[in-house]
Amino acid sequence: MIITTKTYQEINRKIKSKDAIVVTAEEMIKIVEENGSKVAAEEIDVVTTGTFGPMCSSGAFLNFGHSDPPIKFEHLWLNEVHAYHGNAAVDCYIGVTRMADKRPFEYGGGNVIEELVAGKPIRLRGISNTTDCYPLGEIDTYFTIDDLNQSILCNPRNAYQRYVCAVNSTDRTLYTYMGKLLPNFGNAHYAGSGCLNPLTNDPDYETIGIGTRIFLGGGIGYVMGEGTQHNPKNRFGTLFLKGDLKQMRSEYLKGVNYEQYGTSMFCGVGIPIPILNEGLAKKTAIKDKDIITDIVDYGTPRRDRPTIRKTNYEELKSGLIEINGKKIKCSSLSSLYHARQIAKELKEWIEDGKFFLNPPAETLPIETDFKPMKQVSELKFVKDLKRGAVICYEDCDIDIVAEKIVQKNTNHIVITDRDQYLKGIVTSFDVTKAVAKKKTILKDIITKRVITTTDNEPADVAARKMRKHEISALPVIDDKNKVVGIITSEELM
């Protein structure tokens, strides 16, 4: 049974008289270790948390006020980033992963929000279908945050309870939302601040819920409820957050761009946990080594990526993790330094009597499931579409290859050794060129570095490979590099 030792009112009374004892989640570990959770629950009033990382599900609602004559936007752009307009006349939502039409992968909604908060002028360009009540067809103007009626940061999914650690088993560099992942398990990336993470310190959602007042982007914000994809059963809880951009600081809202992935925004979030009972004292003393997560292979381009093994935040923060007996460098995508600063700043606000705690109107759900997308068309795999490869052995003559091309009416001949192991590929164009240049040795015209696929690769992934490498066929191989077919752009059409 949990005995309530303190109430919100008691804590707030202490905050008001500047007597509240506030510590960060990192400091709490030592306090509980040295004094036990019972004493800690009596002595500590509030534990502060913090996180500062890329939060792709972020954005802001802005209201511009009416122009003269009035306009009802159909489309609008802020610094050339397309904002969403689907409600009323002069409201919009600017999302951080939306990229500038002409500068994609370079500048996006996150940069717009950062600049807006920094007080810089933002260009607003909009077009309208025009109506009798909203006759203006086009607008091109500049505004700053002071010119807006409301500017509300509204993030449907922030502050993941924990996140996975990403690695890459393939033989090429991957550019993902988990950063740049080197081939053959060359490095590892994780996210989140571990023992400082807000939801990690209140894992049963006893104090965080609808209406909880928080630190958001350097100002004050509120929890609106569970975030999208909230997945409490797996300890992947998320939060839906809002706050007034006019109170925020651009140092805690930073537009970023990840190579070949796109734009996002770093967002600073800090949540105070009132120590109402001994249970919360224990939970806020959670250590990095007790926060378990998965090392996941991002080399598999599927929803359910294979888990390599379990790890914990202590190992992740050590900078090295072991995979297949090899130590690889591991670093974070989110800033531990700034997470700590946020927890400290929130602590100071409370100590200075400037920030009070409130009970949530409702706590977060603990039973929600995170379902996958319903897809009505069946997912097609390479094995469903492939056909038999036309094969020649590596030691045969170009003549034979040419003959096969004609005979089988194909453009691609897969070259193998006698045991069907892949050795290369030759196209009808290669053969034509060889004939023109009077070459007869097959070895001279084989493409040896072949891009391949496997039976269980989704057809769309194979199609992306072809587009990326500007080729029109992929040999299908098994896990031993034996050829089991071919798939060409014709099958994928």
């Binding site: 890329p54 740049k180 080197l182």
Partner: protein, 131 residues
């Protein structure tokens, strides 16, 4: 593995044969090589290769004999003002040139940098730039 930075100068490859000659010259050393980065510049095509230590000499020789330029070192600059101390570059750095300090902020030590340029496109704020 050791990383080398090469440039195929503009105009070196006129025909597909030139290309096959260079590539086959490398392949005859029987190595698997990772191409870590591929970019074009006004000088030609820049490639960052990850090669087995013991083959470095032979391969650089054969590249040189084909007029491929071996760049000793790339150069980067690090702008702490722009740095978020996120760490997205740290795991990529093969030396300790980019590293965490005790307070988990980040520092760049030019002396330890081998100029492999792996970190440059990993930085989400352009705090690291190729010079």
């Amino acid at each position: 593995m050791t990383i080398i930075n090469i440039t195929i100068p503009l105009g070196l490859i006129q025909q597909i044969e030139d290309y096959s000659r260079i590539v086959n010259d490398i392949l005859k050393h029987d190595v698997s090589l990772n191409i870590l980065k591929f970019s074009t510049s006004s000088g030609g095509i820049n490639i960052l290769l990850d090669l087995p230590e013991e083959k470095i000499k032979e391969i650089t020789e054969s590249l040189k004999s084909n007029d491929v330029q071996i760049n000793r070192k790339g150069r980067i600059s690090y702008d702490q003002e722009k740095c978020l101390f996120c760490g997205a570059c740290i795991s990529l750095c093969p030396t300790e040139a980019l590293r965490y300090k005790d307070d988990d902020s980040i520092e760049f030590s030019e002396g330890d940098c081998i100029g492999c340029l792996l970190c440059v496109d990993a930085c989400p704020t352009n705090a690291i730039m190729e010079d």
